[in-house]
Point group: C2
Chain length 278, copies 2
Amino acid sequence: MSAFASHESATKISAGESISAEEIASSGATAPEPVAEYALRLGDDALMLSQRLGWWIARAPELEEDIAMSNIALDLMGHARFLLTYAGSAWGKSEDDLAYFRTEEEFRSCRLVEQENGDFGQTIARQLIFSMYQYHLYTALQRSTDSTLAAIADKAVKEVEYHVDHASQWILRLGLGTDESKRRVGEGLTYMWPYIEELFTDDDLLDRLDGVAVRPSSLKEPTMRSIEAVLAEAELDVPEVAQARLSPELRDGAYSEYRGYILAEMQSLARQHPGATW
Amino acid sequence: MSAFASHESATKISAGESISAEEIASSGATAPEPVAEYALRLGDDALMLSQRLGWWIARAPELEEDIAMSNIALDLMGHARFLLTYAGSAWGKSEDDLAYFRTEEEFRSCRLVEQENGDFGQTIARQLIFSMYQYHLYTALQRSTDSTLAAIADKAVKEVEYHVDHASQWILRLGLGTDESKRRVGEGLTYMWPYIEELFTDDDLLDRLDGVAVRPSSLKEPTMRSIEAVLAEAELDVPEVAQARLSPELRDGAYSEYRGYILAEMQSLARQHPGATW
């Protein structure tokens, strides 16, 4: 962690009004182990998607869109910082320890966020699915009995509202645009669709987090309703493809073939120079 | 350009309170040709440095620093959007036309911003030099008789103040840190130093922009004083290296060997799918 208290106000993003990663770290709030495991899942989802979206910096089809996509990536990285900082409190680890010094097997991200960016339509298809899921997740998590998780959710949901709006507007623009744009975003949706079910699958961890965590299965109906409403307005079909097979060990040992590639890029510099700027 | 009016407020960055690229485009303000040439220089500097700094997304040594550097990149891209939009008004071109569809020879960026990122210390060395230069430039440009340039400078200087602060704090941290950090940032300064003189060199264009543009030569003394004050506090030597040879055709035909590489990455997607999202 660097020592610039001025970052937060100067960057005007992600960290903010009500909470910051530094405040979580210095608050002394220690996450009980199951809560930390849960925070790690949410944090890893945000971190991995942030890395994926960061690829678009300097590559978007318009300067304005480049800025928009990069800002969404930074929002997600901000959320990841909160969640990893809180998760790390259970094990005496910093957000940077968790981001840069875990192995592939130790990440807990879902497969959807790790899928390839593909073209712009494919990236936007993932944005629609994932931001709708996150919107319903964080909305419910605001009522968590864990006050740190509730505060993180409260902060994050305001930004995710914009991500939902951004994705929805693009889905409409592409779905109602040219034959080519409609075809491409349709293919993007079909590519991402098999990884939806994992978002809504409960496992044993949830049994230990009653009132603290949001049951993934409870998010399925509202999330799918929201997604399908946008697709209908954009005159796009709901893809009819089978769901990817789920490992019995949910978010544990089963991950996409892309994770290693994402981590290689993200971790290489920090690992070359552990514990220092170098 | 996409149709999301909500971008500007939601992203809370770069476009802002007093001015936006959309407002410049819709204001009907048309830059006289010499003003457009001048705006192009400033805009290309910001755009190229933004691309260079964007590389650090997902590669910074700390999550917090990753966010800080990315935000600086986005600030600069915001400034580039203003300046290219205004420049384009002289030729009926959009910011995207100018960013994505010019050749290497048609860019007007200085060589400093195109130099390689190197390690973190080298990047920070460039940030110190360039943000100090930009700070003095935009401070003076606020008094331009061209009201659009004055408004852009007024908006940009507030963000550049943060860039100066960020770079200065890092120079101090590295200069006063370990032997290794001191050595590395010193090498970074030496690497970047030969490209300083170009920032302060006048040419014929300036003769046609009295009261509109800021004479580069007038910025040398205050900028160097600011830079040297930070170096002194950080106990770093002012590098003693020769300046790179300047082409007689300043910012015209002479550019770094790196420009083509930067443009290849930035332009490839837009060129594959001109005039559309694809």
